[in-house]
Amino acid sequence: MINRLSPFLAVMLAVGYVFLYGPIASLILYSFNASRLVTVWAGFSTHWYVELAHNEAIRRAALVSIEIAVSAASGALVLGTLAGFALQRYRRFRGRALFGTLVTAPLVMPEVITGLSLLLLFVALEQALGWPAGRSMLTIIIAHVTLGTAYVAVVVEARLAAFDRSLEEAALDLGARPMKVFFVITLPLIAPALLAGWLLAFTLSLDDLVIASFTSGPSSTTLPMVIFSSVRLGVSPQINALATLFLATVTVTVLIAGRLIGGPARRREKARAPAPAAQES
């Protein structure tokens, strides 16, 4: 009785969800509005979707964004896993405090600062070494990897903290060397967390406006940049259509991923031996 959902909390939850999804619902609704004006409902129509499909600028930008996001997420996955592993397992080494700060700072740093600082770095490097030659997809990827690493590291560190180390010890005991243990035991079992981290870094990259604006070049316009410039001019139904597609893709992906990961993960939870009644030895 004490610990059940009270009416007050239920109402607050409802209010919260209406608040979160109201704007999204209106976006979707008006993407099917035959009229250009948001104010008037002129009947159901999908012609904005057709126009969107023919929008060359958006299509090119989308491809650029996806390519950047895939590369950045993959890079962030590698670096973030190494960083998360190091933070969780290596308790004492020189420069650990600095390393910890470097890894987690991007999480809270305002993007305008990160973007500006990276651009200034690229300019300085170009002056001194000739590389990178101007801003391009590469510079955006580097920027997004830096940001993504922080997120992946946090996810990996949290997963490793909950990881049953006796499994690794058992593998060592049975003759597997440490590197083998990592790849054969640890990695497969934290795979869902790695996937979640990759998706997180992917989404961050795909969605980023500020950092991309600072670090992009003439040929590397990203989707958020295109959306931003068109949105500054006012409401555009094509953007509504894009938003709806976006939402649909994300929802479907999350549902599939959830089904794929949720099942095996839940079964493995039960595989841990029941907590013994014994005291610690």
């Binding site: 058992a170 060592l172 049975l174 003759g175 595989a271 014994a278 030895s281």
Partner: protein, 371 residues
């Protein structure tokens, strides 16, 4: 111990020499100067309460920790600097640590694969081991599909299949319920005798240690306080700690009142009586402590007339445990004593709370300690 093991008892198979392991550099020791020898094929137990250092010692032998001082030798070879994956030692973990993403067969085969054996060579060995632990038909299941007892057997099979020189068992029965525990105890001993591998068991459960091991080392605060066979540990505890830790015991302190050949008369003010015990002669007035196990006491009602080793008291409480009953008896001095009697009849216990009873015991039933 099999005759073969007894013969090679002269040549210790596992030897720990003055092993020390500290919690932190320069600080107190978790394992404090421990030396012991284990014979080949022996079923040896480390027994002690939480925090006594037995698990640390186990991990030192397994190779997960390095000793700060001392040596660990296995079949004559010094294990210093040898990592766990090259030691001829395998461990059965308390939590079983079965790999959740592998089947039972794959779990058991894991160690053999690390040795580089071919699939052709691995399969029959895995099958044989699974038969030994009676899990043959579950080879294709994953750990989460097994019961607690089944998982335990997989863990055991996995630790045995490589035929290591030494198998470590970390509280193997802790997670099992009572019935299963008793059955598994017999199983483990049977398996160990059959394959002849040396077992080192770590536990805080004295019943577990005494019913399975051929020799026990009792540990407290990082040191071994007594080493011996289960009967030796139980009936001739080296000190008060061991006597108290293993089973229940009644303690009395007193001083020597006189000698009588092989017997000693000790006056215990606590009990307000003289205890006659078997012990070599001691000077009159010497301080001694006496330990008397509850099952060594006989009760009679009404109390008989005074005699050797006869006390009188009133039953304060009875704990009925089915196969036996424990009686808490209050003596005239106010001191309480515990006596345990088997319930040999199906009728109600012969004594009742509040009844006046006489207690009696043999001189040889007492253990005498010099303080």
């Amino acid at each position: 111990m099999s005759p073969r093991a007894a013969a090679s008892a002269i040549q210790p198979y596992v030897r720990l020499e003055h092993v020390v392991k500290r919690y932190a550099p320069g600080g107190p020791a978790a394992v404090d100067d421990v030396s012991l020898d284990i014979a080949r094929g022996e079923f040896f137990a480390l027994l002690g309460p939480s925090g006594c250092g037995k698990t640390t010692l186990l991990r030192l032998v397994a190779g997960f920790e390095r000793p700060d001082e001392g040596r660990i030798l296995l079949d004559g070879a010094d294990m210093a600097g040898v990592p766990p994956y090259t030691r001829p030692v395998n461990m059965m973990f308390q939590s079983y640590a079965l790999f959740p993403h592998m089947t039972v067969a794959q779990n058991v085969a894991f160690g053999l694969r690390q040795d580089g054996l071919r699939r052709r060579e691995i399969a029959p060995r895995v099958a044989a081991m699974l038969d030994l632990v009676k899990l043959g038909r579950l080879a294709g299941r994953k750990p989460h599909q097994l019961s607690g007892g089944e998982r335990q057997r997989v863990a055991l099979a996995r630790a045995l299949v490589k035929e290591p020189k030494l198998v470590l068992l970390d509280e193997p029965l802790a997670a099992l319920d009572r019935k299963l525990r008793e059955e598994t105890r017999f199983e483990l001993v049977r398996i160990q005798r059959r394959i002849g591998i040396t077992f080192l068991l770590v536990t805080h459960d004295q019943e577990e240690a005494m019913s399975m091991a051929s020799r026990i080392a009792v540990m407290s605060q990082g040191k071994i306080v007594q080493l011996g066979t289960p009967p030796e540990i139980y009936e001739t505890p080296a000190n008060r700690f061991v006597a108290d830790f293993i089973g229940t015991v009644n303690f009395f302190t007193g001083h020597v009142a006189g000698t009588d050949g092989p017997l000693l008369h000790v006056f215990c003010p606590d009990a307000g009586a003289v205890f006659t015990v078997e012990h070599e002669p001691l000077a009159a007035g010497a301080d001694v402590a006496i330990a008397l196990r509850p099952e060594k006491i006989a009760l009679e009602a009404p109390p008989a007339e005074a005699g050797r080793n006869r006390l009188v008291g009133r039953i304060a409480a009875i704990a009925y445990r089915g196969e036996a009953s424990s009686y808490e008896i209050e003596l005239a001095t106010g001191r309480t004593l515990r006596a345990t009697l088997p319930n040999t009849r199906r009728r109600a216990p012969p004594f009742a709370v509040g009844q006046s009873v006489g207690l009696t015991f043999e001189p040889g039933a007492c253990v005498v300690f010099r303080p």
